[in-house]
Subunit: 337 residues, 4 copies
């Protein structure tokens, strides 16, 4: 932590600030220039609230020197985390595709779509059984029955499955079926849920909240890591900005930034980021070009009848053709897909 | 719902669009101008996803005519909702003050601060026993023990209490103690929690999420209302913007806007909105002037030792002097406090 | 400037970084902790691009210790700037009201409204003769003729006038008429215009840009101050956020923040901030309560016929009644109006 | 325009609203459902302020049916605009690369870099002679002398040139030298400048403002188009959001959205969008994959000595290697580069 003192700070104030720092457990270094005095405080606890120093008399500004996240940082672990589930490795040189419907709607539907996913060469089947909906009047998901038929479909076609967990009580219901827990954007700071997921040994895909900075996102990953589950992947799915012609703003520059700051793999979700089918393909291509380790894409063969998010689902034929383009882009940047 | 058709829409497309609308259960009215054809679709289900129509060939734009929330709207209930708890009425002409520490830290601390709250003429004691913290390394609250001593302090000084519930399993732990459940900004779209709170008969204070539009916020209130609990108050506590000199941007214009669109009372929280003690008093004054029905303010007599959010807590002496100013402003706009 | 080095920085890198700093003219102080090494660099030029250091090998982060603005800062000038124009003092204990139509539309219109402004006890007449409009198809202002009749109306009723200057060539056209130049939000970073206004001796009201941080805003003020014109007032008029139920988000917390960081007076413009008549009065009250030194409010006696921004204009009768409320609030916080 | 009436609207109010619409020159269609009455108003002037209707008694909401821009829209002109300058076509199937330093700094520098640009196969040399700088204390550009040496360098290597125009008085200074005028993000709504550029016959590259919606951006293009200059290209360079780990948020989804709504070509500028060298290459790749018609990239052979924006400049060797990757991605999506 670096503490910048005011130009007109008094000696008494400096002593008082140093005493506070020492009382909080810091080792203090002082650096006096002609105009400015700066205190370096070593030994900051990641949970320390720097505003405690900022409000002291004589202080202008305080900067945190170490990132507030620890286990999620590249400093803590130099090499990339690769999450291995059976034959699939997320975070390796191979880009992993996850696809499927927004919601599991029927046995017939999920089997039809799992077949498409497998035929396209994708490795993971996505689908929601418990659905977080902005409106209480919208379809809320098939629940346990949905999980069962989704796992059957995944097994039938040699796929892994990923599905969303919305609350603590669902963890033990979902755990027997899924290979990856998805935490939705609206739950990114549901800390109780994150802690409990940290107690499991199932990989977690943590979606970025609509208003979450990259730092907040890594802090939420830290909750899972600190509780003992090291298999966390991050999923960029758009942030909220002033723009209204798109549903969200897909923050693709988060991909290289996370890769620099953290060792965790990054998934990109162009379907939720854009909200409209026409923009999914260009944004999927862009996400691969930007360095995403995995893509999650919604597909549906009867999008007009879909019980949720049909307008953003790709048709199977369009998905299969998109996958071919993605392979060429992956190769252009030295990766496989 | 209003559907705007493209300039070059064909008759076949118009028929197809009308058929889709009818299949979704709408009654359709057609209006043809020289350049534009517009379809009015009556009977929209509040949970209907308008993108289903937006993606049809021949459609330019679709607008929802009715708000997606229903029970939260002023159309549904013309007169202001007044939440009565004992002698206290939130949403009436009297502005209700809620104050207390961020976290309950000890029996001594909460009794000292409850005394200040009562002496200032405020009616509700705030304090957290279960704390949502961005960092897993920060203090997480005293839990049940905190609830017990907080309620004892409130009772001792004739105050009501409000405290945060973070997850479903805490509802039954907290219910015997609190008069008002607080739902934090990060849980505003924790729909499972909202539904369960809708099943209780305890008033709920729903904080606005950092990236929540006013519409999202009212939709989340709708979850509680639709499940049977009509005693919901909304709390503005700042939204996330690009500005970095303040912790959040306190959106005071949300107050008159919510009052126009909804019958629910609005609480304003200048402490979390600004994050720094110096800005709390001017923003508290502004919130009363803008029409807030209630204010929630953090106070602490030893802010440097506070286990959370000390930098934004007012000292008791400053709080008592602020209350005097607020009384004059309330009077200036024809209200009491 | 404070330079934070990486945990694994090498001695050679430290030497290289120090050499760079010295070459850029800094005096360097080194502070080594167990885990972290920090360099303090004294003597930073306000225009220095700190990214030059951030990209050096071995550097984690760089923080600017001094604000990038200088003459606009409270450090540079401790006491409040009070702008005196005739009998009017902006930035003093008295809150100054500015009111008038969005656009000057006719001699009759501006005289009628100037009369209202004077009768309400307000001191400054606002009105646009050159209008920045988002659409090229909208009314663009009366130009020189508008200036003449506006000044005549101001003189007739003993008022000062403020009007917008949009481009350099308008400075000499407007200068003979106006008492205050207004720079609009969209021109806040039109640096050529700011420099030229710095060469005049007429006070400037600088509106905050829609995406401008408080720091950007003070930097733009610095352009005017650095060129020799010390009479700058800042005007908060709403920033752009994700919220769509309001036209902009009125950032009232900017008022106490600017007062802490700068000596310049702050004007608040609730008309442009909200965009709708109904929200203007509550937000005007809130702005006074938050500490604004002046308010700028649009009024019109025939808003439905106004050539621009009629929907946000208050009727004269409502304006006069608002002024009475504002007087009481001003008194509550120890100011006059 | 569609006008939604309140549930409890009276017949008298309906008549009044219709009269207003007719007085404003609209042709009115009425559509009555069981619960809702909707008025369609045909013939809207693109500059009409819809708030004039929104404030009438009995009105709930008003939606603009036609986009507020006209000549910039795909409805107005179905086929893509291709801007031909000599042999170069911007907006065609070939992706055009523009590269060069942020600022022209010396004859030697601009010749060295023009050579790199030409050798990489790029077609346009970028470089600033007049520089908009946030700080008045930063380097403000070489001015006329910079233009002369830049044009000489462009001619020597068979390149076109693009340079920024900041104010009206610079148009005639720059016109003899440049092939494309660049309008910077901070000037996107400098309407006087846009009008004057509309009077020239030199192509204009209009950068998106930091807080500009896509609609605002197209409206600003409309100013140039409406004044007679049809050769406008749009440049996405990042928008301002709450994220602080990147300089701006690069809104790549704007590319497919603009292509759907408008016929104008889209340039992407990953250098300004990200602000740091390391993120430029992944974002350049992503921009091509997302469908950009052209890329503008900053390069410098001695970035540490650059007078502006050195930290975001690519080294020549890295630029040349990036171009090779971009060629493969372009081919993957059926384009040339």
């Amino acid at each position: 932590m670096v503490v910048i003192l005011k130009n007109n700070v008094t000696e008494a104030q400096i002593e008082d600030i140093k005493k506070h720092l020492e009382d909080y457990g810091f080792q203090v270094h002082e650096s006096r220039g002609e105009a400015k005095t700066i205190l370096g405080a070593i030994g900051v606890n990641p949970g320390f609230d720097i505003r405690k120093i900022k409000i002291l008399d004589g202080v202008t500004d305080v900067y945190r020197v170490t990132a507030p996240y620890k286990m999620a940082s590249r400093n803590f672990k130099e090499e990339n985390t690769i999450i291995k589930i059976g034959d699939v490795e997320i975070g390796s040189n191979e880009i992993i595709l996850m696809a499927g419907p927004c919601s599991v709607e029927s046995e017939d539907q999920i089997f039809r779509l799992a077949k498409v996913v497998a035929e396209s060469g994708s490795k993971v089947l996505r689908g929601g059984a418990f659905k977080p909906r902005t409106s209480p009047y919208s379809f809320q998901g098939m629940g346990l029955e949905g999980l069962k038929i989704m796992r059957a479909a995944a097994d039938e076609y040699g796929l892994l499955m990923v599905t969303e967990v919305m609350q603590i009580s669902q963890i033990e219901i979902i755990a027997p079926y899924t290979h990856i827990f998805q935490v939705g954007a609206r739950n990114m700071q549901n800390f109780g849920l994150l802690k409990e997921l940290g107690d499991t040994s199932i990989p977690v895909m943590l979606k970025r909240g609509l208003a979450a900075t990259i730092e907040d996102w890594l802090m939420s990953a830290e909750y899972i890591l600190a509780n003992g589950n090291s298999e966390v992947m991050l999923c960029e799915r758009g942030i909220r900005t002033f723009e209204t012609y798109t549903r969200n703003t897909f923050d693709l520059s988060a991909i290289p930034v996370v890769h620099e700051r953290s060792h965790l793999p990054v998934v990109a979700d162009p379907s939720h980021a854009t909200g409209y089918r026409k923009q999914v393909a260009p944004m999927a291509r862009a996400a691969v070009a930007a360095g995403a380790d995995s893509l999650m894409i919604e597909i549906h063969d009867k999008p007009e009848e879909a019980l949720s998010d049909g307008p953003q689902a790709l048709l199977p034929v369009d998905y299969i053709s998109l996958v071919q383009e993605l392979k060429v882009i992956a190769k252009a940047i030295g990766r496989t897909l």
